[in-house]
């Protein structure tokens, strides 16, 4: 992926499928976890990648919506073998906020109803890239609102609990993973048990003080950067002003920071040029880059906020 030109980026591993809803359950206020069976996609997808989901046969909403991989699931675990054989993943979970036209409809979907899905899409986190074989001591994940969704799979992979994608056995490279997670109020916080079960050190902030720190998630980030065991890598996902602020803090403390952008998308596969963000080039200028194929994960230092 060295060429700066658009055509270097293609969703080469994407598949398109018609899938049935297996489960669609509330997990927090206005927040749902959707499970679909799609083995081929689940085998390929890696943390930080996303899928496009569309209400089958529906012309309004017409377009699919991007949703991040929350986790893959395994249908059958053979507990008789030792260690238990997991097989390969049967499908995937996404966690979504009921927000507008499409997600309001999606929240009403029952098991058995049909969705169209394509993916895996986007670059995902390159955290465990074998090439540079870096070993991190503390990976800090910073989430605002529904921006927590890409991080469970990342944490599980980074801590060596689970593998994703077609290169099984990507080694654990991180000794500690923490999550700074901010939301409007306690009832919007979703999936905290999942992160804690994975061994993530979770720190919370709410706007109204109903749980955790009363204030902004960036307060937690600063606290950690100035603390005893500061992160040597930050990943961040959430509203743009929050990502810009975290990127700024990371820069001040000279900690590499990666952001997962949530620009609106129409196709998710690089053919419409809807999803652009301003990305700096080597010559001090910038160009609009398609976040669906060149992102959604970017080194925060190249984003022109």
């Amino acid at each position: 992926m060295s060429s700066p030109l658009h055509a270097a980026y293609c969703p080469d591993h994407a598949v398109l499928a018609s899938v049935e809803v297996v489960e669609n359950v509330p997990v927090a206020r206005d927040t749902f976890r959707l499970r679909v069976t799609c083995a081929e996609m689940a085998r390929r997808i890696t943390p930080g990648q996303f899928v496009m989901l569309r209400l089958a046969g529906c012309n309004d909403p017409l377009l699919a919506r991007p949703l991040a991989l929350y986790d893959t699931f395994y249908e059958t675990t053979d507990l008789t073998s030792d260690p238990p054989a997991m097989g390969s993943p049967a499908g995937l979970d996404v966690v979504y906020l009921r927000l507008g036209k499409m997600t309001r409809r999606l929240a009403e979907y029952r098991p058995g109803q049909l969705l169209e899905i394509w993916g895996p899409l986007g670059n995902g986190f390159e955290l465990t890239a074998k090439a540079n074989d870096i070993r991190l001591s503390h990976l800090m994940m910073v989430a605002g609102g529904i921006g927590q969704t890409p991080f469970l799979a990342l944490a599980q992979e980074a801590l060596g609990q689970k593998t994703y994608g077609s290169e099984p056995g990507r080694l654990p490279t991180v000794s500690r993973v923490s999550l700074c997670y901010g939301a409007r109020s306690a009832d919007y916080l979703a999936g905290i048990e999942d992160f804690e079960a994975a061994g993530v050190d979770v720190r919370l902030a709410t706007d109204d003080g109903s749980r955790g720190h009363h204030g902004l998630v960036t307060d937690l980030v600063l606290d950690s950067l100035q603390g005893a065991n500061p992160p040597d890598r930050i990943v961040c996902c959430g509203p743009e002003p929050m990502m810009a602020a975290v990127a700024g803090l990371a820069r001040e403390h000279a900690v590499p920071c990666f952001v997962s952008l949530e620009t609106p998308m129409a196709c998710g596969i690089g053919i419409c040029f809807t999803c652009v963000a301003r990305v700096r080039d080597a010559h001090g200028g910038w160009d609009y880059k398609r976040t669906c194929v060149e992102g959604p994960v970017f080194d925060a230092s190249v984003i022109e906020w």
Binding site: S3, A7, D12, H13, L62, L63, A266, T274, D287
Partner: protein
């Protein structure tokens, strides 16, 4: 079964000097540069592929938001974001030229000299099967003048015709009072075919914040919402010119394709449907032979422009039912 075998239906179509193996193309700006779709679409099955419009110089395009979903459609104001013709020749055309389906290159400019320069530049490229002149983009200043003034439309087509030996398709905008006049001008200028329609000018408003949803304020409407407008345009143009028509606008299913053929299109381009149903063209191609056989056709030309306007009992119908 004593019926004809499936392959007895001839899908090939002639568009002036250009012959294609089937009438299902993908529209400029809705299919990237082809390779983005390689995992999801069998590119070799397409009648032709039209990559995103190319300009002489790189263009950054418009600021976000660039698209907004609307009822059964979407508005866009991308602003011809592209890396310019040099990058196109260096990075995209080699890939496209290696595909077994033909590439028709869409070009746009602010003046006749831009179109001519681009046509000359592409004239030697064997990978370019034909040129589509985008004289209808609503999202760039000056971009639409060639498409709204018959004289300018005629002149730009003639100038390009003199600059290249490649077949020329003029892509028309629906944002005019009489699209048939524009098609006539293109035909008289020497176009091999016309393609229509480009997007329909529209806008979307966020009343709570009293602001337009598109950064460009206005944009082009596409998708199923514009199909009736596109069909009407194809029908009117088919009455006015003898050169072939490529129908575009809201096409997503085999029924849509057949409607355009019957209304007068010799071929079609699938656009917005690629976004929300990436394999729409493949499903259409699977179903096309059977649909043509339904009308006892043995080739595509058998159904083109066969609309029977007397079907409702002539112009004075209305009081019978």
């Amino acid at each position: 079964m004593t019926g004809e075998p499936i392959d007895a239906v001839d899908l090939s179509v002639r568009l002036g000097r250009l012959t294609l193996r089937n009438p299902i193309l993908v529209a400029s700006g809705t299919f990237g540069y082809g390779r983005e779709m390689a995992a999801l679409v069998e590119l070799q099955r397409l009648g032709a592929l039209i990559p995103k419009t190319v300009t002489r110089q790189p263009r950054a395009g418009n600021a976000p938001w660039r698209t907004v979903e609307t009822s059964a459609g979407m508005l866009n104001a991308i602003g011809l974001d592209n890396d310019g013709v040099d990058a196109f020749l260096a990075h995209h055309l080699p890939y496209l030229g290696g595909l077994p389906c033909p590439t028709i290159v869409s070009i746009a400019g602010a003046g006749v000299e831009d179109y001519v320069a681009l046509a000359r530049r592409l004239d030697d490229e064997s990978a370019v099967a034909a040129l589509e002149l985008n004289i209808s983009c609503p999202n760039v200043a000056g971009g639409v003048d060639f498409g709204t003034d018959p004289r300018m439309c005629h002149d730009v087509v003639t100038a390009v015709r003199n600059a290249t030996g490649k077949p020329i398709i003029a892509k028309l905008t629906p944002n005019v009072t009489q699209i048939a006049l524009m098609a006539k001008a293109a035909a008289e200028g020497g176009a091999d075919a016309v393609s229509l329609i480009n997007t329909v000018l529209g806008m979307a408003v966020d009343w709570r914040h009293r602001r337009p949803l598109l950064a460009n304020v206005v944009g082009g409407l596409s998708g199923p919402a514009i199909k009736p407008i596109a069909l009407r345009c194809v029908y009117q143009v088919a009455q006015a010119v003898t050169i072939p028509i490529l129908g575009i606008g809201g096409i997503a299913t085999i029924d849509d394709v057949m409607e355009f053929l019957v209304a007068g299109a010799s071929a079609v381009q699938v656009g917005t449907a690629n976004y929300y149903c990436p394999n729409a063209t493949m499903t259409i191609l699977d179903q096309l032979p059977a649909a043509l056989r339904t009308l006892q056709a043995t080739c595509v030309a058998n159904v083109v422009g066969t609309l029977d306007t007397r079907a409702h009992g002539g112009p004075s119908h209305g009081d019978k039912h």
